[in-house]
Amino acid sequence: MKQKGWKELKPGAVVTEPGSALKFKTGSWRAYKPKWVPENCIQCLFCWIYCPDMSVPVKDGKRGDFDYDYCKGCGICALECPGKKGNKAIVMEEEGK
């Protein structure tokens, strides 16, 4: 996306478009990346509830793989994940490995 010059900005940095945070992708802030392990997932959706952003897409009541455009790698989902029989359905991995 071409960045705007100073003459094209809205006065006072007012945001007039609702939901425009969708366009602000924050995934590059991440140092650790959550990895979804579907075989350990019981679809409790705790990860969806606890995610401070919108990185856990849910369709028809079931979660899919992470949307890494918005995941900052905070690790809350991995912490809250109850897993199955002691095996977590979300594990954190270092970026770049």
Binding site: W6, G12, V15, T16
Partner: protein
Amino acid sequence: MGKIVAVTGNEAVAEAFRQVNPDVCAAYPITPSTDLMQRFSSLANNGKVKTEMILVESEHSAMSACIGASAGGGRVITATSSQGMALMWEELFIASGSRFPIVMALVNRALSAPLNIHGDHSDGMGARDCGWIQLWSENAQEAYDNAIQSFRIAEHLDIRLPAMTCMDGFIISHSIERIEYLDDAAVKDFVGEFKQTNPLLDVDNPVSYGPLILTDYYMEYRRAHAEVMSKVKGVVLDVAKDFEKISGRKYGLFETYRLEDAEIGIVVLNSAAGTTKDAIDIFRDKGIKAGLLKPRLFRPFPYEEVGEALKHLKAVCVLDRADAFGASYGPLFMEIASSLYQYGQRPLMMNKIYGLGGRDYMPDQAEYVLSDLVETAKSGKIKNIREYIGVRE
């Protein structure tokens, strides 16, 4: 039209605010502006204005409430002094950066410590770079007139910036002077209706204020703010022209007094200008060509115009009622020096710090400064480039 009254500076500005009848006022009392807000809140409590008074627990909250009310869509006022202005510090930037045209009466007072409640420009000078418009006033009449004009300037669609009008604490805020008030209807017509662009309370068109702007856009927003600032002086002059039509009183970016044919000049803000004019008259009677320049619009500072008005002088003394510890000179001197620096031939310049913490500025001090200027202009040499006057050794 209008009426002639004997009132204090605080009373005059409270009356201006009554006539403008703003939507919201959030304020916290602090000497010497307390009396201004006490009078205005009485007007609100007695139903003389429709203003919603928000009584808060600090100036930090006062400016925060002003910001919220302005974002909501209201015409908003407040008043403060000294430590109160200092406590508003971070919000001052938020108000200007968000382009909220809040109008504030700043009753200038010294900053603590040591604790002092009297007239001094340290508060206004401390806030000079926070992106607000600043109008300074010599007397109660100017404080009243500036307060009314500041609404038009701040709310102008090309500007939309907050504005503070300054007057000297106690010396003006608490002294009774002869003032000419305008008719209520004339003031109402002059300021007109206020309509906020993108108000938060317009629920059909939702907006957000205060987004996070990082390295990719912050500089562009600052550049845009600077551009808006550059348009202020034109608006100030247009508004002054309209104001003259209803009041008969002339305003510019600054006032000059016997300056055109002068050889020496004093630059001074606010109430001390009155005393200085008297001293200039005494020197003029002796055949000495002395003059004065009193800035009115201090932010944005009209460099070109001030430079043009002063460049012909042989010597200029800038009087500062605020110190700038560790800086080369007082804050007003630095503006004047910058205004004149571009000229190859420029006046000899000196800076004198006076009147801190409300110390009286006496006619003999003004005469001392003029004598120093006469000598400097004659000898071509500056004796004291920077000194304190009226201080005990």
